[in-house]
């Protein structure tokens, strides 16, 4: 029986996911659809490559002076009537949110979709404190009602089909009649949540951008649940990673072009909300911004890994990835999936809990090509593999690689090894491929095809020709 840690490695989870043909079909169709939409709207922008370069350089510029920009944002938000809090880790951020809720005697909060609050497990912390969080994004609602976990950073319930969602809504929302048409399912969610929007006095959101010179915060969304949460309650708390800054308002001209086209494949997503502190008579009259580190400063300290912090969470890399589009998101065992998850998760949650993730890639480079802020994901993957190996100490793999170097270095040793392999593979080889095997060979063939050693090597063939 595999240990819990082994069960959560990418190869183990991927094997189970790939065996699920319905899941493969759902994910395959979905990623293909969204890839085509993105490609069409990117193609109509003549200066797309210039925008990508602007996005990359803006992010790198900001990170290089991050301390100065954070202080500038703090001053601007405070001046506009907001309150700024700093959190070293997820537990501290959750404590801040809970204290605000308790000060207002709030027992329920409404939430805008936020991966950052998933990362810090805010919902669990709120529930433990007796405060009930209501997810209001349709996909997040599906995940929350189903006690499920997200499998895509943009469309978290991408692994669920309409029949499953219908069954879930009927059971959890107490409905006796409901069709499986997406429009009817959406209408059911609207009716269920409308009362919450009208009555719950506090909302929690993430943030897509924090604009330093004006103290303006931005949330982009589609459904209007974001606008509801950002407008109707009396108290609003936004939890934002320290890396989400842009220097000036004008810089939004770059990201408002890059993000929607890369993300949902639209020219613009339906709603973008921008607010600056508190506006008398319009929206929440108390605003808190929680600036979250949670190991982002460790990522910043690694000069190769640092570019990971450029990410604007568009999900283009998930949709293009040949690995993600077959395994789906659960194989990554993280709130950040796909190629960006493979580099972000080990850096945020620690290498020890995610050492297999940097290997969850064929290094084909498609993710780098579509990234709107030019994160060189393959470069960071290789860099993290090096770190994983350096941290792993003595392993069978290292021993085997050492032996392989000696073998490939010496023609006579190689020939002897080939002879032995030809005999040893007999029980496991068929149609030119090895399936099964023992020890490390079995580890390899579990998720991959391993060509059998042919009956005649090139060297043997060459000898007979001469």
């Amino acid at each position: 029986m595999a240990s819990a840690a082994e069960r959560h490695t990418f190869p183990e989870l991927a094997k189970r996911a790939v065996a699920d043909t319905q899941l493969r079909r759902n994910i395959g169709n979905a990623t293909q659809t969204i890839r085509a939409k993105r490609a069409a709207v990117v193609a109509e922008v003549p200066d797309w490559e210039d925008l990508r370069e602007a996005g990359r350089s803006l992010k790198e510029h900001t990170l290089r002076s991050l301390d100065r920009y954070l202080v500038q944002l703090e001053e601007a938000v405070t001046k506009a009537g907001g309150q700024v809090h700093w959190a070293r880790d997820g537990a501290e951020a959750s404590r801040i949110v809970i204290e605000i809720a308790e000060r207002h005697s709030v027992k329920e909060v409404i939430k805008v979709k936020s991966i950052t609050t998933e990362e810090i497990k805010l919902n669990e912390a709120l529930e433990a404190a007796g405060i009930r969080p209501f997810e209001t994004d349709l996909a997040e609602l599906i995940i929350q009602l189903g006690d499920d976990v997200s499998s895509h950073i943009l469309v978290p319930a991408i692994h669920r089909n309409r029949a499953e969602i219908r069954e879930l809504f009927m059971r959890k929302l107490g409905l006796t009649e409901l069709s499986d048409r997406p429009s009817d399912l959406t209408a059911a969610a609207r009716t269920y949540l409308r009362e919450k929007f009208l009555t719950v006095p506090m909302a929690v959101s993430g943030a897509n951008f924090g604009i330093c010179d004006t103290g303006t915060i931005c949330v982009v969304e589609s459904e209007g649940n974001g606008r509801m949460c950002l407008t109707l309650p009396q108290v609003l708390v936004s939890v934002m990673g320290v890396e989400k800054l842009v220097p000036t308002w004008e810089d939004m001209e770059v990201f408002l072009q890059l993000l929607p086209r890369s993300s949902t494949g639209e020219r613009m997503n339906p709603y973008n909300s921008f607010w600056t502190g508190v506006m008398p008579g319009d929206g929440p009259q108390e605003f808190h911004l929680v600036l979250l580190d949670n190991r982002r400063t460790d990522v910043l300290a690694d000069r190769t890994g640092r570019q990971t912090l450029n990410c604007i969470r568009c999900s283009a890399c998930l949709n293009i990835c040949p690995v993600y589009s077959r395994t789906g998101g659960h194989a990554y065992h993280s709130e950040y999936q796909g190629p960006i998850g493979a580099i972000l998760t080990p850096q945020l949650h620690g290498m020890e809990s995610a050492a297999s993730l940097p290997y969850a890639s064929s290094l084909c480079g498609a993710c780098y090509e579509v990234c709107p802020v030019k994160i060189n994901i393959p470069e960071v993957l290789v860099h993290l593999r090096t770190r994983a190996v350096a941290q792993s100490g003595f392993t069978l793999e290292k021993l085997a690689m050492g032996a392989a170097i000696r073998m490939f270095d010496n023609p006579r040793l190689l020939e002897t090894a080939q002879k032995i392999a030809r005999v040893a593979q007999r029980p496991f080889a068929s149609d030119g491929y090895i399936t099964g095997g023992i020890g490390p060979v079995r580890q390899w063939t579990k998720a991959r095809d391993l060509p059998a050693v042919p009956s005649q090597s090139f060297r043997d063939w060459w000898r007979t020709r001469r």
Binding site: H85, F274, T297, A301, R303
Partner: protein, 206 residues
């Protein structure tokens, strides 16, 4: 100052301590304007807004009266909406209306700060004729009047013009609310208004 603040800022300074001195230049070679003018600009805006399933009407001053005359039911309007933009039955919002009142009306009529042709977007900045954010959120039907001279070509032109709107809240709207969360099927109308009608007002320039 909190201990957390000092620690996070300290960690950032430590993380950056081995970086070479100097700032990283920002690459600004992208387009700041789009070559769209006159009738082409207005056409592009109308076409792109319709692509999101918004209804688009193009009227002159006389046509506006007819378009408004058709609106049936009770509409909330900002307290400073011009007289000639009023629908037959209206309630002016002086911020006296509660959320339930707004939820109960049939629609809302507003103006806008500007509109973006390339993306089919309208932007509200809580300025004149637009009201507070809640009035364009809770009613199920939003009618937005866009004078032709408010249409700009590109996102950078819009962002530049909106600098003076801050610190008022800004809302960019591109079509009615929508979701693609179920099998990536686009459904128009989730929590925000399920219908958006855009009335482009004024003579289309040559």
């Amino acid at each position: 100052m909190s201990a957390a603040r000092e620690e996070v800022l300290g960690r950032i300074r430590q993380a950056l301590s081995r970086d070479p001195a100097g700032e990283i230049d920002i690459a600004r070679s992208y387009r700041r304007t789009a070559a769209l003018h006159g009738a082409e600009l207005v056409d592009r805006f109308a076409e792109r807004a319709e692509a999101y399933k918004a209804t688009v009407l193009r009227v002159d001053a006389a046509g506006l009266a007819d378009a408004l005359e058709r609106l049936r039911g009770r509409f909330v309007v900002p307290d400073d909406l011009p007289e000639e933009w009023l629908p037959p039955e209206f309630i002016r919002d002086h911020r006296q209306l509660g959320h339930r009142d707004l939820d109960a009306v049939d629609g809302v009529v507003t103006g806008c700060a500007l509109a973006i042709a390339e993306t089919g977007t309208i932007v509200l900045d809580a300025g004149v004729g637009q009201g507070r954010r809640a009035i364009t959120l809770l009613p199920d039907f939003h009618v937005c009047i866009v004078p032709v001279e408010r249409i700009v070509a590109s996102v950078p032109e819009a962002v530049a013009a909106l600098r003076t709107s801050l610190p008022r809240p800004l809302t960019f709207m591109s079509g009615p609310s929508a979701t693609s969360d179920i099998e990536l099927n686009r459904v128009e109308g989730v929590h925000g208004p399920r219908r958006l009608e855009i009335i482009i007002l004024g003579e289309t320039p040559d």
